[in-house]
C-alpha cells in the first residue's frame, strides 16, 4: 500500500469517479444494477443510464420506494447499488434498509453523498451528522467513510459482491491525495498512515487529511502522533484500536459526524473494558447542520486540524 500523502488535493472529483466506476462495474458484471432517486446528474450517470435503461434505473424522488425496489431486485439475483444524498440514504429510508434489506437478507449497497459538512450550500436539511450512527445499529452492516479516489474505487468494487447491507458515505468534490492510484483498501483493517508513540489520532473521511496536518503540527512541538485511518467504521478493526490505545496511551478520534454514534462511539465501546488510554474527540457536538461553504462549516463545527491539535495538547497535559 503506497502512501503518497503530501497535503495536496486530487484534481479529480469524487462525483466523476463514482459515475465512472458505476459504469465500469456494470460493464463487468451483468448482475450489477444501479438505482438513483433523481440525483443521477449529481454523479454523472444520467446519460449512461439513458442508454442502459435496464441497468441504470431512475426511481424519481422516492427514496424509500427505491430501497424496496433494490431489495426486490436483490431477491431476483441482482447486485443493486443505490445512490442519493446522505440524509435521504440514511434517515429517510432507515426502516426500509433495516427490514427489507437487513432483516430480510436482501444484499444491497447504499451510497450516501455529501456527508456531514460536505453538504455545504444545501444546508441543514441535507447535512447528515447521524448517518453512521443509524447504519451502525443494523446488525452486520458494513459502514464506510471514504478518504480518497483509489479507496473509493476499491471499496465500490468490493461492495458489489459483499453480502449484507453496505453503506458508503462520500463527498462529491475532491479530497487530499492519500494513496497511489490502483491501491486496494480491503474493507475491515484500519490503515496506519503514520507511526507515533505519544498519541494516536483515529480518523475517517475528510478528517484523515486534517489528522495528517495535525500530526505535522504536533511533530513541530515535539509530539509524536500516530495517524490511523478507520475508513471501515463497521466492522471496526478492534485489534488496531486496542494496539494503538496501548502503544500511545492517548487517543483522539476525528470524524465529520456527530460525536454520538459514530467512530468515536465505536472506539469507546471497544475500549470501555480496556482502561488503557485517555480518549477525546473532534466531531460535531449535539447540534444540527447549517448552510455555508465547507471551510466555514469546518470551523463552525470544530472539524479542523487546529481542533485536533488543541484536543491532543489538552489530553497530553
Amino acid at each position: 500500500m503506497e502512501l503518497i500523502y503530501d497535503g495536496s488535493m486530487d484534481s479529480r472529483l469524487f462525483k466523476d469517479i463514482l459515475g465512472k466506476t458505476i459504469r465500469e462495474l456494470s460493464e463487468q458484471d451483468s448482475d450489477f444494477i444501479y438505482l438513483d432517486a433523481d440525483l443521477m446528474s449529481c454523479i454523472g450517470t444520467g446519460a449512461w443510464a439513458c442508454e442502459n435503461p435496464d441497468r441504470g434505473i431512475n426511481c424519481g424522488i422516492s427514496e424509500s420506494n427505491m430501497i424496496g425496489v433494490a431489495c426486490g431486485l436483490a431477491a431476483t439475483g441482482f447486485k443493486p447499488m443505490v445512490h442519493t444524498f446522505g440524509p435521504f440514504a440514511s434517515r429517510r429510508v432507515f426502516d426500509q434498509v433495516f427490514l427489507s434489506a437487513g432483516y430480510a437478507k436482501n444484499d444491497i449497497t447504499v451510497i450516501g453523498t455529501d456527508p456531514g459538512v460536505t453538504a455545504t450550500f444545501n444546508g441543514g436539511t441535507h447535512m447528515p451528522f447521524e448517518d453512521v450512527a443509524l447504519y451502525r445499529t443494523i446488525p452486520t452492516a458494513t459502514v464506510i467513510d471514504i478518504t480518497d479516489v483509489p479507496m473509493l474505487i476499491s471499496v465500490l468494487k468490493q461492495c458489489k459482491d459483499l453480502p449484507g447491507v453496505k453503506y458508503i458515505r462520500v463527498g462529491r468534490k475532491n479530497a487530499a491525495k492519500m494513496f497511489a492510484d490502483g491501491t486496494e483498501t480491503p474493507i475491515g483493517p484500519a490503515i496506519t498512515l503514520r507511526e507515533g508513540k505519544d498519541i494516536a489520532i483515529f480518523a475517517c473521511g475528510i478528517m484523515v487529511h486534517e489528522a495528517m496536518q495535525a500530526a505535522n503540527k504536533l511533530a513541530e512541538q515535539g509530539i509524536d502522533a500516530a495517524v490511523v485511518n478507520f475508513f471501515t467504521i463497521k466492522p471496526l478493526d478492534a485489534e488496531a484500536v486496542k494496539k494503538y490505545a496501548r502503544q500511545c496511551g492517548n487517543v483522539v478520534v476525528a470524524e465529520n459526524h456527530s460525536r454520538i454514534g459514530g467512530l468515536y462511539s465505536a472506539v469507546c465501546e471497544t475500549l470501555a473494558r480496556e482502561n488503557t488510554a485517555k480518549i477525546d474527540v473532534v466531531a460535531v457536538n449535539d447540534e444540527y447542520g447549517e448552510v455555508g461553504p465547507q471551510d466555514y462549516l469546518q470551523k463552525r463545527f470544530g472539524l479542523t486540524a487546529e481542533h485536533i491539535v488543541e484536543t491532543a495538547q489538552a489530553l497530553l497535559k
Partner: protein, 276 residues
C-alpha cells in the same frame, strides 16, 4: 379581476423575480428554475390572498404558506422582503456564513417563513397538520401548500393528500407546480406521474388546472378556494421552469444554475427594463 389589482400583482411578480436573481447573483448560483416557476403564484398569494401582518409574523391566526419544495426558498424570501418582513438588502446574504436565508426554507431562521422544508415530501404532511390545527382551534386561517411535480414522486405526498380529503380540510389549498421538470430532467422521462389533475381529484380534492404563470387565472382560481365546503382545494399550476428569463427557460438543465456576475446582471437588466 380589477385591472389595477392585476397590474399591481404583475409588477409584484416582476419584483419577486428581480429579488430571486439578486440573491443568486450575490452567491453566484442557486435554484433558479423552480423559484421562477412558482413566482406568479407567490405574488398572487402574498399580494392579494393571504391574511398576514409583516409586522407581526408570528400572529397565530394568520394564513400560512408551506413551500414544500423548499429549494424555492429564494422566491419566498423575495416576496417576504418586498412585503416588509425584513430589509431588502438581506437578500444578498443567501447561503452566506451565518445567514438567515438558507437555500431551503427554515421557519427558525427567516421572519415570515411558516414552515421548515427541504426534504421533499415532508411539507405536505406538515401542512395537513397545520390545517387540522387551525380547524381544531376554531381559527378561520388557511394553509397554502406548494408542491413540485417532481416532489409528487414521494409517497408521503399521497399519504398527506389522502389524509387531507378524509379529514375534510377545506382550509387547505394545494398548489401543484407542474413545470414538467425535476432535477435530472423531464418528469415524464424520470418517473412519469401521468395525469396529476386526475390523480389529485381522485384523491378527493376540489381540483382545477390553469396556466400557473397567468396572474389573472391564478387569482381567480384562488378566489374560488374561499367557499369552504368539505373538500380540500387543489390548483394544478401548469408553469414553465425558469419563467421570465428566456435563457433559463430554454436551458436544458435549469434546476440549479451557476453563471457569471455579468450573466446575472444581464438577466436582471432584462427584468428591470420591464418595470416601466
Amino acid at each position: 379581476m380589477d385591472a389595477t389589482l392585476k397590474k399591481g400583482l404583475e409588477r409584484f411578480a416582476l419584483e419577486i423575480r428581480i429579488g430571486v436573481l439578486e440573491q443568486m447573483k450575490a452567491r453566484g448560483f442557486g435554484h433558479v428554475g423552480g423559484s421562477l416557476s412558482i413566482t406568479d403564484a407567490l405574488a398572487v398569494l402574498y399580494g392579494s390572498q393571504m391574511r398576514v401582518d409583516p409586522k407581526n409574523p408570528c400572529w397565530a391566526e394568520r394564513d400560512k404558506l408551506v413551500c414544500s419544495k423548499g429549494h424555492a426558498g429564494p422566491a419566498v424570501y423575495a416576496a417576504l422582503a418586498l412585503k416588509g418582513y425584513f430589509p431588502y438588502e438581506m437578500l444578498k446574504t443567501l447561503n452566506q456564513p451565518g445567514t438567515s436565508l438558507p437555500s431551503h426554507c427554515d421557519r427558525n431562521k427567516t421572519p415570515g417563513v411558516d414552515m421548515t422544508t427541504g426534504s421533499l415530501g415532508q411539507g405536505t404532511s406538515l401542512a395537513c397538520g397545520m390545517a387540522l390545527g387551525e380547524k381544531l382551534r376554531g381559527h378561520d386561517a388557511r394553509v397554502f401548500l406548494v408542491v413540485g411535480d417532481g416532489e409528487a414522486n414521494e409517497g408521503q405526498v399521497w399519504e398527506a393528500l389522502m389524509f387531507a380529503a378524509a379529514k375534510k380540510l377545506s382550509n387547505l389549498v394545494l398548489l401543484l407546480d407542474v413545470n414538467g421538470k425535476q432535477l435530472d430532467g423531464c418528469t415524464k422521462d424520470i418517473l412519469d406521474t401521468l395525469d396529476l389533475h386526475a390523480k389529485v381529484e381522485a384523491f378527493g380534492f376540489d381540483t382545477v388546472s390553469i396556466d400557473g404563470n397567468d396572474i389573472e387565472l391564478v387569482y381567480n382560481a384562488l378566489e374560488r378556494t374561499r367557499q369552504g365546503g368539505d373538500k380540500p382545494y387543489a390548483i394544478v399550476l401548469n408553469t414553465v421552469k425558469g419563467k421570465g428569463i428566456a435563457a433559463v427557460e430554454q436551458a436544458k438543465s435549469n434546476h440549479s444554475m451557476a453563471v457569471s456576475t455579468d450573466q446575472w446582471n444581464e438577466w436582471l437588466l432584462s427584468l428591470t427594463a420591464q418595470l416601466d
